[in-house]
Subunit: 96 residues, 2 copies
């Protein structure tokens, strides 16, 4: 299954910046980064359940959010990209 995962993490304090790094790292492990906080994740249901559980333990649900978009089988036809290609250093400077 193809799941698009987007997140917002509130980075006003050091704890938030730590959560952001954790969430980003988890997403990098499970999907393809296509924008700074947007990942396309091709996973089987078991992997997705594990991934989702990790993410939801990493965020602060009062401050941060996650959205999942289940793109279905024809996901390749549902996506259009314009502009600069994704080229991120997950450990480096955030470009957003």
């Amino acid at each position: 299954m193809m799941v698009l995962v987007t997140y917002d993490v509130n980075t006003e304090d050091a704890a938030g910046r730590k959560r952001l790094r954790m969430v980003a790292k988890t997403c990098v492990n499970y999907g393809q980064r296509v924008q700074n906080s947007v990942f396309e994740c091709l996973l089987d249901p078991t992997e997705f359940a594990k991934f989702k559980d990790m993410l939801e333990n990493e965020i602060d649900p009062e401050k941060d959010s996650l959205r999942y978009y289940f793109l279905g089988k024809n996901w390749k036809n549902r996506v259009e990209h314009v502009g600069a290609k994704e080229a991120y250093d997950p450990e480096g400077t955030m470009i957003f």
Copy 2:
């Protein structure tokens, strides 16, 4: 049609920050902000064409990117939200 629009704008310089403000404003005019750089836009094809044209004139395609996800008719079943609800001031501090 429901189109999810996500963007990355490179804000390393003042011109980039200006592009970010323009792109965000255009998206606010055409869709519902669900995360900082993620918008759900319910548009007819004519509106979408106009919106897309505006966005693609506002970004720097060498530095920024746009992605469109066409979610189809069953889009409500494709979306899951976890955590903090969207509550953005488009003119205010960016939370991401």
